[in-house]
Every structure is written in C-alpha cells, then in structure tokens.
Amino acid sequence: MKVLMICTEKLPVPAIKGGAIQTYISGVLPHLSSHHEITVLGIEDPSLKNEEMSGGVRYVRIPGKRFELYKNGVVNFLENHENSFDIIHIFNRPRLVLPVRSASGNARIILSMHNDMFNPEKIPYEEAVRVVSEVERIVTVSNYVGNVIKSLYPQAAPKLKTIYSGVDTDRFLPGSHKNMERFRNKIRKKYGLENKTVILYAGRLSHNKGADRLIRALPLLAKKYDDLALVVIGSNWFSENHLTDFVAYIRALAKRQPVPVITTGFIHPDEIHQWFAAADLFVCTSVWQEPLARVHYEAMAAGLPIVTTARGGNPEVIMEGKNGLVVKEPEDPANFAEAISKLLDHKETMKKMGETNRQLAVSCYKWERVAADILSVWHNHPMNVKSNTAATIPRFSASAKAPEQPVHIPPPSSGTPGARKGQSDSGNQPQ
C-alpha cells in the first residue's frame, strides 16, 4: 500500500531535535517501510533536505512551526498528489483531519494521539465530532489518552486502540553491558560520580514535569544515604537551552543541596542512552496528567528500576514492586524520598527490578512490536474486521487503577512480537 504519514508542525523527522512523536515515527519507519511504500510529510529543518529518499522512505519537508502555515502546506501537498495514497496516518493533529479529508478523496485516515489535542481548548466540539466520524481508527499511546478522548467523545470508543510506544533496545542498554561500560565509566568519571548511587531524571524542565520535587526530596534522602547523586538531563524545551524561571529555580535549589546535582541541559538524542547507562535508578516526577512519558521505556531498556507517578498513563507500564514503584501523591517531595528509600534499602529487589525492566523492554517495547501493531491497524481495514479485534498490545499491567493484581510478565522474546492471547488492547474496557 501507499501510505502517507503526516507529522506535526513542531519538530522535524527524523528526530534530530528529540520529541516523543518524532522519536516514535523514526523508530517504526524502518520496520514499516519494508512492507509498504511510505511517504513522510513533516517540517523542514536547515540540516535536512526538503525532499529525499532515505532508508526506503520518501521524505517531504515543508515550512512549519505555525499550525496554519503547516496545514496549508499539507493541503497543498495533497492537492498535488491526488489519490496517491491508500492510507493517510496523521500524528497528533486532529485539526488536520478535515482539511486532509477534503484534499485527499477516499484515502483511509488513521489518527495517532499522543496527548490532549482533543481537549475542548484545542479543538472546537463540532470539529472534533466530525474528526471522530471521519477517521477509521484512533491510535493512542496509552489507555489514559484513549480514555480521555472517550470521555469527551463517547462515539470514539470503537475506534480507539492503544499502541504503547517503544525503544531501541540495541542502543539503550544497561550500564553493565559491554557496549555501555565505557560510556558509564566516562560519564561517572567526568562528573565525579564514581562510587555514587546515581538517580536519574530525564525530561523537559517545566513545572508539570516536577523535577523540583525530586531536588527537594534530596535533603531527606541525604539523612539516610551518603553516596547519592542526582543527574538532571533535559532543558526547558526540546533542543533549546533557555534559562526559564523554572530552570533557574531548580538550578538555584540544586546549588544548595547536600547531594551533588548535575544539570546537563539539553542532551542530543544520540547521546541520551549513555546517561541512562551511567545511572542506577530512574525517577519520573510528573505532577500533571501525562499521556505516558517515553523515558519509561528508555529506563526499562537501560535496565533501571523506575519510580514514577500516578499521573496520566505513566503507571500503566509499572507493576508496583516488580519493575518499579508508583508515587501516588507526587506533590509532596517526601513521597519521592520514601519511594527511593524503599529501593535503596532493598538493593536486591532494586537489582531485580532493573533486570525485569530490561526483559520487558526486549519482549514488549521494541520498535518492531510497535510497528507490528501499526501494521495490524493498517491491514485490518474495518470492512474486513468483524469486531474490534485487536491487537497485540504486549502489556503486563492491566490498568493503572489496579496495579496490584497478579500479573504475568511475558518472557523475553526474540521473534516478532505477535499475538498474545487474552489481552484486550485498552485496559478494562475494549475500546
């Protein structure tokens, strides 16, 4: 089939400037392009050609940054490529759906949702209703994202399908792996982290992401442990390093901690895995209803135990006590101190969690699996499908609300992630 994938107007693909959506698309493309003829339409960037064939994928890059400008470019592109595509897969821009529909004839439209772009302040109600009716499927990165859409637009329910994101498990590897040892040692030496237990935060530096809570938890932790260090990687916004009020705030706090705090600023996506390999445990501190931060998969692949928050989709990939811990009330730094202490006090469990995470990443969260799920959506034309069969979401946590249930942890698999029986694709209610 001929497939057009339409990216957002914010960041370029490949993900040279980072970005979860861009990383997702870059991750699955090699596995999709062997099956179909794919064109990726995205925004231009000074370091990328406006048109190229690369890795069997055709890239077309047009001006972006501003939505209106980008939308016009997308429409213009489609008008010049009438009836050229069987499927148009739009990423995270429901507002592109209607313009794309009117410019693209009868192509099947699939929409992938990575966050809250269906919320009322992002799209007018009437338009959203038409978008829902116009698209064939709505793929979401977590049950949480799907459930929010369903609560706003119940008619979307049968079209929803969760496809969890993935990670390059050959690049993100535990620090003990032979490919990683030198990175781990180099970073730890350079930043004075030898003999330290390194807590890692990776993400944008904004109030929502809550890195300040982790820094404020340090005085409590320092009372119990004398070998800690915190590494904060990330900047105010993808690929930028502006000193915002929040960044200044956490740097000011960091300076006065009893524990060394390394703030690295923006780290190029090509180097992030080295930092994961240098760490001993990973903490996600989000205080907002986050769709599901992809750093969880990266931490898993790096074999790190995870502390995350009960916000949005984040707990969906955590089995309490098995591969990490979930902080129920992330507003209070003491809760992070408590969760981290639980890990540090039980080094054996902590180690096991890291191993479990690596197994999980390999068995459930490789890009091959994500691509296979996307292919199943592309191949399962609703005309051929009796009910909402689905798919193969390899998950081991049934729902965010019930993380305590006994769970089967799938064994690492080397083959194509395929149908795993008995799992609906979106938590308690099939969507």
């Binding site: 501003r66 009020d245 200044a248 706090l253 006065r256």
Partner: protein, 371 residues
C-alpha cells in the same frame, strides 16, 4: 544577511549594567538596521540608539530623516507576534487614537523582516513630555488609557499574524503567581543564611494567602462570563502602560511602545497602573483610587462586573510578585539587605491597601453617576 539571526546580546543572568551598556547595540545589528533603512523613501541624517532590550534582543533608534524625526524599531518577539502588534498600531491610528503613525516602506509595506525579526519605522512625536507625577498627571494618563481601550475594540489582526490574547488567561496568571510563591519559599529556605531570607519567608507567608483569596474570588466572579464575550468585544490592553509609555503631547495623552499589546479585559492595564502608583507612594489612598478610576471611566465606562473584577485584580499581590520573581536567577545576590528592606516596606504599605479597597468596594454606582 540571510543567515544572520538576531539574538539577545545579554543573558538573563547579567545583573548590573552601566549607562553605556544600556545604549549598546551589537555591530551586526546596526549593520542590519542600515540595510532596513534603505527600504524607505527618506534619507537618514543621523541615528541614535534611544533604548534597548539587550536580554530580549530589541532596540529603538531615533532617526533624523529628510522627512522629519522618526523612530526605527527592532521588535524582539517572534515575527508573527510582532505583526499582530503592528496591525494593532495601524488600526488604532485609523481609529484616531493618539499612537505614532507607521511609516510605510518604499514598496508600501508596514515593516521589514531582517535578521529573523520585524523592524518598522514610525513617526517620532517630538512634543511628548512625561505627565507630572501627581494626581492630575495620573488622571490624565488614566483617561488616555480608557480612550486607547475604547478605540482598540474591533481590531482584527492580519492573516499572517499570531493572535495574542490574554482574555481567557486570568485564572492561569493567578495560579502562576500562587505557584511561584511556593518557589520563592523554597528558595528562601534553601538560602536561609542570607540577609533577606527571613523577610522573604515572612512576605511569602503574608502575600500567599492574598493570592489564594484573590484566585477564589476570581473563580466566584463573573470573570468567565466576561471572558466569553471574546477578543473583539474587549479589544486590546497595552500590557506595559505607565508613566513612560503614556506621555503628554499635542491633543492629550499619546501612547507609545505598543509591541506587547494583546487582547485582554481592559482593566488589566488600569489595575497595573493604579497599584504601581500606590506602591510608589507607599500608601493606598481611597480618594486617589476613586479619582483614577473615575478618570478612566469617563473615557471607557466600566460595567459593574468589570468594576468588581478590577477590585479582585487589585487584591492580587502582583506588585510583590513582580518585585521578587527574579530571585530564582541569583538568590545569593538578590536576597541582600536592600531586598530585605524592600520586602518590609511592601508589607508596611500593604496595610493601607485593604481599608482603601474596602472603602471603594461599593463605589460603582457613584462612578456611574458622576459620568
């Protein structure tokens, strides 16, 4: 010139600047300025930097031209955002508001895009003088502000502009202040050994409650209903109005430096002007409050709902917030003796605020009658 991107020439962390620094503009930007001026029909006799925003990357020159004195401005904002403001300035001119007229380029454009930023030329109003810093001067400025708001209603930005609106953002702004109070507290705790740390903690304790109360009042007010009337109904607020951007000239008050204008409930400007003046005076005086609000009301009548909202906005400790928000950048130098004194002074001044607001709480009928 194509590849040159204009960048700020000072960082947020830079503290002290000399007088000479204030009028310094990097050479490459001066070079771009000359290229920009080539696109106008007048010839330039001399140009002097009049003001800069080095941390943001903006500048104003006064230029003497064959067509008289004019200003050349380099706007630091994103170009589509600047285009919004320029459209507003042109619209206000058409509405006969006293704002400097924009001078078109030799191809009839309002502005020039160079170095990735918007540049434009406007008339320099020679006769402008600051309003006297007394009640009479302040009343004139309030009246002028009301005119500006009234005449800005109905502005529609050009299609290539990025629309800027704060009409629906009031709760968010209140929440932000409340959130940052928490930051200030944690900074003061982490830097507890500095001269102003104690005062900061005390001030946060004192003003945080006010911010909380103000947010509750806002949520229980008619604000959301008012916001629903939309951008075109309310028109523009200047967002940086005061004794330097409102000045006396031919006719009456002229309003300059419009690059930050955004759709908003108009009383935002009025509230900032009033509270700034009270803080400067070190005392909240109910009679002055009344006079200023009346002067504004004569030019742009306030509804009961807007008046109530004005009182809520006055109850927000925004002046405190504005004065301490930079603490996050360099707590060690910020939390000094001088800041300690400033904070104590703010708390002292604040004591007179509440009886004054109480006294004018039910004034709205009177305001209307006098009109």
């Amino acid at each position: 010139m194509k590849t040159l991107e204009i960048m700020p020439w000072m960082t947020e962390e830079t503290n002290e600047t000399t007088e000479a620094d204030k009028l310094h503009v990097p050479e490459y930007i001066q070079f771009i300025a000359l290229a920009v001026l080539k696109q106008y029909d007048f010839s330039v006799r001399c140009m002097d930097v009049a003001a800069t925003k080095p941390k943001k990357g903006g500048a104003i020159w006064k230029i003497e031209t064959s067509e008289g004195p004019k200003s050349l401005k380099l706007l630091h904002r994103r170009p589509p955002r600047s285009i919004f403001s320029l459209g507003a300035q042109e619209y206000l001119c058409q509405q006969k508001a006293r704002v400097p007229a924009i001078v078109k380029t030799n191809t009839g454009e309002k502005c020039v895009l160079a170095g990735g930023k918007i540049w434009f030329v406007a008339e320099w109003i020679e006769s402008l003088t600051p309003a006297p810093k007394d009640l009479d001067g302040a009343k004139k400025l309030c009246y002028g502000l009301g005119e500006f708001h009234r005449l800005s209603k109905g502005y529609r930005p050009p299609s290539n502009a990025e629309s800027a609106s704060r009409v629906g953002n009031w709760e968010k702004k209140y929440r932000k202040i409340l959130l940052k109070m928490d930051w200030f507290r944690h900074i003061a705790q982490a830097y507890h050994d500095l001269p102003a740390s104690e005062s900061m903690l005390r001030a946060v304790e004192y003003f945080e409650k006010q911010a909380q109360k103000a947010l509750e009042r806002l949520q229980n007010s008619k604000y959301r209903e008012l916001a629903r009337y939309g951008d075109l109904h309310w028109g523009l607020a200047h967002q940086d109005y005061g004794w330097s951007n409102g000045q006396l000239g031919k006719g009456s008050v002229w309003i300059i430096d419009l690059d930050g204008v955004a759709y908003d409930l108009p009383i935002r400007d009025l509230r900032k002007f009033i509270s700034g003046m009270m803080i400067d005076a070190g005392h909240w005086d109910p009679e002055t409050l009344r006079e200023l609000i009346k002067a504004y009301h004569e030019a742009n009548p306030l509804s009961k709902e807007l008046y109530d909202l004005l009182l809520i906005d006055l109850s927000l400790p925004d002046e405190f917030y504005k004065n301490v928000k930079d603490v996050v950048y360099d707590p060690e130098s910020f939390l000094n003796e001088e800041t300690a004194e400033m904070l104590e002074e703010m708390i002292r001044t604040d004591a007179s605020k509440w009886p004054a607001l109480e006294e004018i709480a039910n004034d709205w009928k009177d305001v209307k009658k006098k009109k």
